[in-house]
Amino acid sequence: MKRHWPIWQGTVRAEIRGGEPERFLNACTEAGLVLRNIEYTAPQTLNISLPAEDRDRMERIAALCICETAILSPVGGSERGRRRLRKERLLILTAAFALLLAISSLFIWDIEVVGNESLSKGEILRALSESGITEGCFWPTTDVDAVRSRMLLREESLAWMTLNVRGSRATVAVLERREKPPIYAEDSAADLTARRGGVIGETSVKNGRALVARGQVVAEGETLVSGRMESETGQTRLVRSEGEIIAETLHEQQIFLCPESYEKSPRHGVHLILGLQCGKNRINLGLKGRKVLDGCDKIKKEYIIGIKDCFVFPLRLIVEEYRPYEMGAAYSPDPTEAEMRARLALSEEIDGEVTEIDFAYEDENIAVHREIE
């Protein structure tokens, strides 16, 4: 045969049915087609195999010879080749993905801060970035000891810190400095002084000499209990005064209310906007227009893409929910709301019990509260 028919070329098995299938065979050979495995299956019916690339020509010839064709099965190397190619592509993609993961895991894409109490995460992250640790930095060249030293020098409130990197996620564990309790000499005196001015109520002195009595008015900073105790023998004993002095003090809170408020009521429908955050760049997905964002409450959620405690991608999924609302009719402020807010603010400010409350209103919308502890 002049033409080679390699396996990878692929074959098509077809059924030819017509009045003169022999005429079709001769037409095919005249057209230069090479047919294989021609089988007589039924009267006026043949099964043939031919290269997949000749299928269209064969169908045209069959139509000219008034024969019907039916493809039984496209088999052969072409199919195998395509499958192999698909497998190879899949393998290449998998390998590329694994390589990307491996390379990406050498960079820090997420920083978690644990152990902080008074210092905020933002403060620690800022100090870290000034020490050279930011999102996207190459961590294998990072000297953790140097970072720790710089951080401890920069943030005085930090007592200790460490940086653990797992995959592309860095965990910064910090321990904040605790104030040491004051150490007093045993032979030194300590007085109790008034934190605020007021009228003395109950006094209960455990150690030291009481200088105030019930009903006495004291000013801020005045000594209430002295640590110098004089004995009958004339010697002065220095003690650390200890006791509980309850006094009535005056507190003032001012609460401001808006002259008019509007109540929001939700409308039907939620607009979702998806986005991908890569460093400081953001790609919005599916944003139709900014018009939908007007008159909406925005709820933003960030999702870190990656494997928990192992690896994170430098991409973050941003889901923004826009909930439309309607402004209701304007309504005047309620004085009871101001009183309630004043009580709450006062209870947060004082340690003791609120015994008497006096509300004073200025203008129509400002309430002034006076409370006595």
């Binding site: 045969m1 050979t29 090479v34 294989r36 021609i38 089988e39």
Partner: protein, 104 residues
Amino acid sequence: MRRVIELYGQGVVDLRRKKLDLDSAAEKLTLPGEALGALLVTVIGRRRILIENHLGIEQYSEEYIRLGDRAGALCVYGSRLKIRVLGKSKLALEGEIRSLEWEA
């Protein structure tokens, strides 16, 4: 080439062109017959036949295949006859071959 015409009331008449006698021509030119287009039939055992220089398949079934030739036709009889390869003027046949017959 062969044409069969049924004449009205006079039976079947086989009209044939004047055929070229390839065998005698080849003999005169001292050339092998297949070089001048004579049918070349290679029989391998009882199961395979390779036929070259044929002029097309005239009839084909599982038990019979008839191939055109300049001098007439070649008929192969057998059972479960299958054409393994069919190319231009070449044909490889497989099956249980019983006999070959040349028709003038």
